[in-house]
């Protein structure tokens, strides 16, 4: 494990960490259906606008979203579409977890 690899793993972890929050997942879901202004996202997420703004700047920093200012509003959109396919995989993990639990409960009968 050399220094370059360490740095690469850290960079990857940063990107993944930027997705690892319920509000940020909601934001990504919303953005998957098109560009949204911060005010829209605030309504969707339901937290303070400052909180949403912080989530967005974190995601922007990680390279997940892009912003575009139009007048007073700032519109955010997804930069890399492939992350959406990943959500199906996360759901597969949950389904697998659930079915394993199910099998265990049946065994317990």
């Amino acid at each position: 494990m050399n220094a370059h690899d360490e740095e690469l793993y850290r960079a990857k972890a940063q990107v993944i960490k930027a997705m690892a929050h319920p509000s940020r997942l909601m934001i990504m879901d919303a953005l998957s259906r098109g560009e949204r202004c911060v005010c829209d996202l605030q309504r969707i997420v339901g937290s303070d606008m400052s909180t949403v703004s912080k989530h967005l700047s974190l995601m922007k920093n990680a390279g997940i979203v892009r912003d575009r200012k139009v007048g007073q509003q700032v519109f955010y959109s997804l930069r890399v579409p492939c992350i959406l396919r990943f959500f199906d995989c996360v759901e597969a993990v949950l389904a697998d977890r659930y079915s394993a639990f199910h099998v265990l409960s049946k065994e317990a009968d």
Copy 2:
């Protein structure tokens, strides 16, 4: 946004969070090449065994890995292979980020 959705987003975030750490990414990379005992993973990651064990139990709890005890050793393996494809996407994010930075530096010339 109902309570069920909230819970679903939280569950998804938990799975993603379980991947969002450099050491855990190293572990997943190693496991993608086959089952490994904790001792192997410790050498690969290079931290204390107790630390590696904590990472593993967190990943197991999230449904990412499975464990199997053989004698004194505990072997871990990946439960859901699709997460590997995701890493390519994370690399795409990094590449996109890098190229955007590159464009900016060229514009600065």
